[in-house]
């Protein structure tokens, strides 16, 4: 009886110590939904990384060993849902590190709330709109985990350059969603095209649209050289199909979305020029880290590897957990977010991608440009931005 009482006392007094040895990582991404391409793979990759860290016994910072507790919520791409989840993470779960969001409309909704916690946590998200807030007052909590489109090393800038050189395009039709994500792409690419002497036409559509015939016909009447559509596969499958079936467009230029819609219509497409953070089908054969990641994924999830979605693991995903842990080790702390952020911004990490951050906290990583011609002939160009 006395032994039992002592065991209880030891267990009760031991609990607070055990709780301190856990680092909570929150995640607010669209795991399902129309925009799940921006969130599904991040959630898959991060969960795999957490499992690997914990199975290896955790990680050591100072004298203590820590495990990772992942609190991942499916926002379905809904800004309201993301706000609720973020509030729970910061106020109830006391998480100091949050991965996501990848969607701009989600980020602009949560930002007013998040900045109240400036200096108390780090938000590492890939949303394009985050770029506009990096380095601004009350936004030290922000790190953007994706390449920026514009600027001399921007992937969009490099792709537009290649487009002009390789296709001689003079006029581009842009067809984007009438939301934050679509509008930020308009803001970025209209001046980029103008700089290169390319004329643009723009049409916006409401999210949820399925029949694009009217806007495609309207854009095609302007006789542009190619179509620059949307950012979400949910719309791209319909747009590319209807564009080719209606004989409106057979050449496409994409800086978001996957190769999937192109492959599905490969016999009807003349040229499909797409930014792919990594062309996994090829990288698997040439890069051991990628091959291991794919094998680990299959073993962990017991299903086929999603090659078409995997490129989006370039944001707030597998590599980023290991970067964060390394930053904690260098900072000698798991909760001094300012020091951890400083270490993150100072490092270059060589994982699935070679990643570093610029002085404002925006990620720079190497990427692929994939070009698919009629019949599915694919050529891949790897761009090293380091």
């Amino acid at each position: 009886m006395r032994r039992l009482i002592w065991s209880v006392i030891v267990a009760l007094t031991a609990s607070p110590v055990a709780a301190q040895n856990t680092v909570k990582i929150g995640q607010i991404e669209a795991q399902t939904g129309a925009n799940a391409i921006y969130g599904y793979m991040s959630s898959q990759g991060l969960a795999l990384a957490v499992d690997q860290v914990n199975k290896a016994g955790g990680f050591k910072v100072g004298e203590k060993t820590y495990t990772v507790e992942l609190i991942a919520s499916d926002t379905r791409g809904d800004p309201k849902e993301a706000s609720i989840q973020l509030k729970r993470l910061l106020e109830t779960d006391q998480a100091k590190f949050v991965f996501g969001p990848f969607l701009s409309n989600v980020f602009v909704t949560i930002d007013p709330y998040a900045k109240q916690f400036n200096g108390k946590f780090l938000l590492m998200g890939g949303a394009t709109r985050i770029h506009d807030f990096l380095g601004t007052p009350e936004h030290d909590f922000l790190i953007r985990t994706w390449n920026w489109d514009a600027g001399p090393k921007g992937f969009g800038n490099l792709m537009v350059d290649r487009l002009v050189k390789e296709t001689g395009a003079k006029k581009v039709a842009m067809l984007f969603q009438n939301d934050q994500g679509g509008k930020v792409l308009v803001d970025i690419y209209t001046p980029l095209f103008k700089e290169k002497g390319i004329e643009t036409q723009l049409e916006l559509f409401e999210p949820g649209t399925k029949d694009f015939s009217a806007v495609l016909a309207k854009l095609a009447a302007g006789k542009p050289d190619l179509l620059f559509p949307s950012y979400s596969d949910a719309h791209l499958y319909d747009i590319v199909r209807q564009a080719t079936e209606g004989n409106y467009f057979r050449k496409f230029f994409l800086v978001r979305g996957s190769l999937g819609p192109g492959l599905k219509n490969k016999d009807e497409i003349d040229d499909y020029f797409v930014y792919v953070p990594k062309y996994f089908e090829q990288a698997e054969k040439t890069d051991q880290k990628v091959a291991k990641f794919i094998a680990d994924y299959k073993a962990f999830y017991k299903r086929d590897f999603p090659y078409d979605q995997a490129p989006l693991c370039s944001s707030s995903c597998y590599d980023h957990l290991f970067m964060l842990i390394e930053a904690m080790k260098k900072a000698g702390s798991v909760d001094d977010v300012a020091r951890i952020r400083k270490e993150l911004l100072a490092m270059t990490y060589d994982g699935l991608w070679k990643i570093r951050f610029d002085e404002k906290g925006e990620e720079i990583f190497n990427f692929d440009v994939v070009r698919m011609k009629r019949g599915g002939q694919i050529s891949v160009t790897s761009v090293d931005t380091q």
């Binding site: 799940a36 949820g208 209606g246």
Partner: protein
């Protein structure tokens, strides 16, 4: 420009028949049961997903997959009628509330089964037909032909068969119809089931053209109701005409005005027509 106009008019007619099949379900249900079934869009979604599953996952040929998809939608409609709608006959508010509640239930079930990530069915019939300078996808022509045929057959059945005459009689004077031996309970349940079958059939054809999401039904029920009101509640030809007019207005409107507000053009047209003809284009004056 003329080519653009002709092409989009054709496209609007085809898309309008999808609106029209839902409008037909709305008008039939309202005429016989006295309620507006807002959940018809969800039965369309059921038909679409079942078709996708049978064609893409189970590997059935598409013409075969349509029949069980329509039957399952109709079966769900029968269950909904027996458990819910039969208690709301001729009570517009209760029927509305029940059908709105049913939307949440069906959508939640779809989310559990298939998540919100869109499903893109394999192509049934790819390629397009050139009509003058206009390309019309072959599958859209097939969808149009099938929907129009079903709507005309429905009209023919209602105007030339005993059950059709019974339905008209009931819609004009329920008590008299009952006295004449019309089994009203059977008639009402039959109409609910048939309207959900129409929606399921529409969904099966929709799946051959567009990607699927659990929330897809919401847009189509709104369009269906708009079309039914525009054509005149109670008019079967009005349902088809209303759908086509709505589809053409949206398509042609998008040529001249920003495509982002496409949904508004049809609505503005509906309001404009109702100001001059409150009972709709083919509706009877009361």
């Amino acid at each position: 420009m003329l080519q653009l106009l002709v092409g989009q008019t054709l496209n609007g007619v085809i898309v309008g028949t999808l609106y029209g099949i839902i409008a037909l379900g709305v008008t039939l249900t309202f005429g016989i049961t006295g309620i507006v079934n807002f959940a018809l869009g969800e039965f369309m979604m059921i038909g679409a997903y079942v078709t996708w599953y049978l064609f893409d996952v189970a590997g059935l040929p598409y013409p075969v997959a349509i029949f069980p998809a329509t039957a399952i939608a109709a079966g769900c409609g029968f269950v909904a009628d027996q458990l819910l709608f039969r208690f709301t006959r001729n009570n517009l508010i209760n029927g509305l509330l029940v059908s709105i509640g049913l939307i949440s239930i069906i959508e939640a079930a779809a989310l559990l089964l298939w998540t919100t990530t869109p499903k893109d069915m394999g192509y049934v019939l790819s390629g397009a037909v050139r009509l003058g300078g206009v390309s019309v996808p072959k599958m859209k022509l097939v969808v149009f032909a099938l929907l129009a045929a079903v709507m005309f057959l429905t009209y023919a059945a209602l105007s030339r068969t005993w059950i059709g005459r019974a339905a008209y009689a009931y819609s004009q004077n329920p008590e008299a119809a009952m006295l004449m031996g019309v089994r009203t309970e059977v008639l009402q349940s039959g109409v609910v089931v048939y309207s959900t079958a129409l929606a399921g059939f529409g969904g099966a054809l929709y799946a051959s053209l567009y990607s699927l999401e659990p929330a897809m039904g919401g847009l189509y029920i709104l369009k269906g109701i708009e079309a039914a009101i525009l054509g005149g509640i109670g008019s079967l030809i009005g349902a088809l005409a209303g759908g086509i007019i709505l589809g053409v207005t949206e398509a042609v409107g998008s040529i001249y005005l920003p495509g982002a507000f496409r949904d508004a053009y049809g609505l503005i047209f509906v309001v404009a027509i109702l100001l001059y003809q409150p009972s709709g284009l083919f509706g009877a004056e009361r």
